[in-house]
Amino acid sequence: MDGATYRVLDGCRINKDKPLDFWFNGEKFTGYAGDTLASALLAYGAFPVGRGLKYHRPRGIYTAGSEEPNALIQLETGGRTQPNLRATQVELYGNLIATSVNAWPSINFDLWRVNDWLSPLLPAGFYYKTFMGGGVATGRWWRLFESSIRRAAGFGKAPSAPDPDRYERMNAHCDVLVIGAGPAGLAAAAAAVKMGCRVILADEQAQIGGDLLADDREINGAPALDWVGATLKTLSKAPDVRVLNRTTVAGLYDDNFVIAVESVGDRNGPPAPSQLPRLRMWRIRARQIVLATGAHERPYVFPNNDVPGVLLGHAIRHYAGGYGVVPGRRVLLGTTNDSAYRTARMLSEAGLGVTLADSREAPPPSLVEAVTRVGVTVEVGFAISAVRGSRRVCGAEISRILRDGAVASAPRSMEADLVGVSGGWNPALHLASHRGAKPVWNETQACFVPSNLTALGIHAAGAVTGVGALADCLDQGHAAGRAASKAAGKIRRTRKPVIEGDDVADPVPLQKIWAVDNRQPGGKRGKAFVDLQNDVTTRDIALAAQENYRSVEHLKRYTTLGMGTDQGKTSNVIGLALMGQQTALEPEAMGVTTFRPPYTPIPFGALVGRDQGELFDPVRETPMFDWHVANGAIFENVQLWKRAYAYLKPGETLEQAVKREVLAVRNGVGIMDASTLGKIDLKGPDIVKLLNMVYTNRWDTLKVGSARYGLMCREDGMIFDDGVTARLGKDHYVMTTTSGNAAIVLAWLEEWLQTEWPDMQVFATSITEAYATTTVAGPTARDLMSSLDSDIDWSNDAFPHMTVRTGKVMGVPARVFRVSFSGETSYEINLPARYGMALWEALVVRGAIPFGTEALHVLRAEKGFILVGQETDGTVTPFDVGMGWAVSKKKDFIGKRSYARKDTARQDRKHLVGLLPVNKSTVLPEGGQIVDDADQEAPMAMLGHVTSSYWSPMLNSGFALALLKNGRNRSGDTIHILSLDGNADEARVVDPVFYDKERARMRG
C-alpha cells in the first residue's frame, strides 16, 4: 500500500523509532511498536477489513477495544494460525501475517454479497420458515442447503496442525484483586497497597492507564499520564503487588475465584521463546475484588450505519490520542452526550475539518464555546440520520431530532469521509453478573449498572458505576480500595490523597436515543444495523415483536442479536430498548440477557495448560513396571494404572502369548504382578462389626491366620466390589479390593465409619502401595516357593488354602496369602514395595513364566469366578450370580433389605450361566445378546448377554459366561446369540464352572 497518510499526530502508545512491517491480505504495510493491527491499518485509511455474517456487506474497523464486532481476522498460518481474532486486540509485531475472513473470493469482491440483494427473502429467522418440502422424509431440502449455509457462516478456519506452543496455569492468592487499570483501578490499587494488602492489578491492555491514554487529560494540574507513572512506581515498590498487563479477566466464580489470561510469549509474535508459555491462565482466589472495568461506548442506529469509516466517537479519540491516527479528512461526529466534545476539540486542533451534531437542545455552553473557538461547527439539536457510500463513507445526512429520536426535518447533506457516533455508555458489568446478580437500570445515565455486591466482596468503582467525570472515578476508586482492604481484614489509618480531574464544570445529562428513523421524503433509505456482526437490523427487531418473540431472550435467539463473538457488547442494550419501544416496556422491565464467562474469547489451550499429551493424566506404575516394559509387555489402562495385559515373545501374536501363559499356569508355575489390587489395613476392636455390615457373609468366626472371600453391595442390594479379607492378628485385618475400586472401597468404609457409626473403633489405612504383590500360581508353585530362602513352612497342612502366613522371604519380611483366582495352587506374596523388583527377577530366573491380566481372565473364567465390572454392571445381586450361599440370613448388612423387594425377589431374574458353543471352534462374541428365536422381528425379545468369552486351551473349545433370564432353570437348553452380520451362533447352557469343579487343584 502507498504511505500511511492518516498518521497525523504523535500517539502516546506508539514508538515511532521502531517501524514494523506486516502483511494484510497479501499486501505489505508498516506500523510502529505499540500499534494494534487495527491502528496500523487505519493509518492507511478506513477501508473494508471484513464482511457481515449474513448479507456479506463490507465492514471496517468500528471500535478500539475488545467490543469490536467487525474486524475479525485470521492470524498467521499452519499450526500457529488463529481464527476470529479482533484486529483491535492484536498487538503489532514484525512480519505479522493476517487475512480477512468469511469472504469469497476476496474481501473486496465477495460473491456472498448476493445475500444483500436477496435480503427481502432473508428476514430474521427465515430458515425456520423454509427448507421444509420433500415429503415424509423431510429435511431433504434442508440437507441440501445446510452444507452451503455452514460454508457461508463461520468466519475463520480452525488450524490444520497441532499447536506447537506451550500454555501454563498459575494459581494466585491476594487480599484485593483490582480489575481494570484505568483511573479508578489505579486509585483503588494505590489505596489497597497503602492499607498493607496483597494486591493484584490486572488490565487487558498492553499499556496501563485505560481511558487516560486517549488524550490530554490532567490530574492535579499535570498530564494524567504523569500521575499514572507515579502510581505505577509506588505499586512496583510495594512487596506483595503483582501488576498484570495484557491480562484479560475472563470469569468470576463463587467465593471470588477469578480466571484471567495473560499474553506472555505472544507479545512479540510467534514463535514464543521455547520455554515461555504463549499464554498463562491465572487462577486467582481473591478475598475482595474492586471492579474498575470502565464502560463501552454505544452508538445510536441510523440507515447505512455499517459503511467502513463509521466508528464509535470515543474510538476515534483513542486512535488519535493513543496512536496518532485519524482515518479521514472531513469528520462528522454525532453525539447525545458531553464525551464527544473533547474528541472534536482534539481533531480540530490537529487541523481536520470537524462538524459536531449534538442531538440535545441545550448542550453545556462551556463545551460548545471551547470547540467552536478551535473551528468546530456545532449543529445543536441535530443527529446523524444516514450515511452514504458502500466501501467508504462518502457523505452523510443530519436531521433535526425530537426527544425520542423521531426525525423532525428534511435531512441536510454533509461532506464527510469519517463519521463518529456516540450514543452513550454501557458499564462493562459482565463480571459482576457471572455470579448470578442481575444488573439494575439507571434512568439518568440510561444504562444498566451493577447492583450492590459488597456482600459478595465485589466493590464497583469508576465508569462501571455509570459515572463519567474523572474526579468521580478517582474518588470512587480510592474509596473502593479502602473498603475492599477493610473487608479483607487489613485496617490501617491512611490519609486520603488529594486528586482532582479536569472535568466539565456544567455537565448536561445525555439524551436517550436508540435509533434515528429516517422515513422523511428524500432521506437515504437503507438497513440500520443494531448488531453489526450478525447483521441484525431494526426491521428484524420489529419482525420479532410482530411474531411475539418479545422476551429479551426470544429476541436474542430469534434474530441472533448479541450471539456473535463480541456477545453484543455494543448492540444488546439498543436491541432490547428498541423491542421495549414496540412492546411499551421500559428497558428496566425488559431486563438483559445473562452475561456469561468468558468476558472475551479465550483459546482452548490456555484452559488446558500443560495437561496435554504425556501429562494429560497421571500414570501409576507398579514396582515391577520397568521389568514389564523391558520384556515385551502390552499394557492396558486400568483406571490410572498401567497393567501388563500379556507378554509377547518376539514374533508371537496376542492369542498365542495368552495361550502360552494360560498353559504355563495350568501345567507349571506362572507369576503375575498383582500390586494394583487394593489393600486396606484395618486395626481396632470393632473390625468384625464393620465387616459384618459391609459384606454379605458373616465374619465372627474368622480365626487369626485365615482369610475369607466377601461380596460388597450398595443399599440397593447390587454387587459393587468383592475381595478376600484376612486376619493377621487379634485386632488386625487386611482387606483386598479390585484394582479399579481400591479408592472407592476405602472411601465407602470411611463414609460409614465417620457419618453413621462414629463410635465403631476401627482405623482403615491404604497400604496398596506399601507392598509389592506377586501372585505365584500353578501345580509346581509350592516347589518354587520352597526353593526360596524362607522360614515359612509351605506344606499344604501348615499353609492350607485361604490362609495367611508371615515370615521372611529371601531375607525380607513378607506376608503370603494362599488365595486363588486362577483355580490353581496359588500364593500372593506381599513384601515391602522396594523389594518387589528383586523378588520378581529372582522368580523369573527360577523359571516362573510371567502372565498378564488377559491370561488371568481366561483362567478365572474357566473356574466360573465372576469379575466385578464384567459379570456385574450395578444391576446384579449375589443370588443372580449363584452366590446366595454368601448371603447371611441372620445378620443385617448394607443392601440386605433390598432383596425382599418384588422385582429383586422374583425367581426369573437373569442368572449367571456357562455357555458352550455348539461349534466348538467359535469364540462367542462378548456382549452378544441371547435370544430363543433368532429370526424374530426387531425389537427382539432379548434374554441376556454374554459377559465373558474366551478360547480355553484346556477344553480346546470356546466357552463363555453369561447372564440369562431364568438361566438357573435352563441348564442344557440351546440358545442363540445374535451376531452383527444378521445370523446367530448356537450354544448350550451349562454350569458356569468348566474346569476342576471339585476345586481340588486350588486346595492341593
Binding site: E715, D716, E750, T755, E756, P758, R897, S898
Partner: protein, 92 residues
C-alpha cells in the same frame, strides 16, 4: 468455584473435596421392619431443596474427614460448618 471451610484444615479449594449429597439421612435401625416404600424412601427419595440446603462433604485430598455445611442452592452462599460425632475439631 467454592472455597470450602474444612473444620480441620481451614478454607480449601472445592477440587479437594467430594460431595456427599443431602445430610441427616440416617440408616434405619432395623430395615426388615420397614415396608418397601419406607425402605425406598431411605435409599432413593431425596428432598433436593431449592434454597438453604444441609449437605455433606468429605475432604478427600486433605484430612479425609466428612462434615456438613449449609449452602443456598440458588446463590451458592455457604457456611454453618458442623462435624459428625466421634472427633471434635480443635481450635485452629
Amino acid at each position: 468455584m467454592l472455597l470450602i471451610q474444612c473444620p480441620y484444615c481451614g478454607p480449601r479449594d472445592e477440587s479437594e473435596f467430594d460431595y456427599g449429597g443431602e445430610a441427616d439421612i440416617v440408616r434405619p435401625k432395623n430395615p426388615e421392619k420397614l415396608s418397601d416404600a419406607e425402605w425406598a424412601d431411605y435409599v432413593f427419595f431425596r428432598t433436593n431443596t431449592k434454597g438453604r440446603f444441609k449437605e455433606r462433604w468429605v475432604h478427600t485430598h486433605g484430612c479425609g474427614r466428612w462434615f456438613k455445611i449449609v449452602r443456598n442452592t440458588t446463590t451458592h452462599e455457604h457456611g454453618d460448618v458442623t462435624v459428625f460425632g466421634g472427633v471434635e475439631p480443635e481450635a485452629e
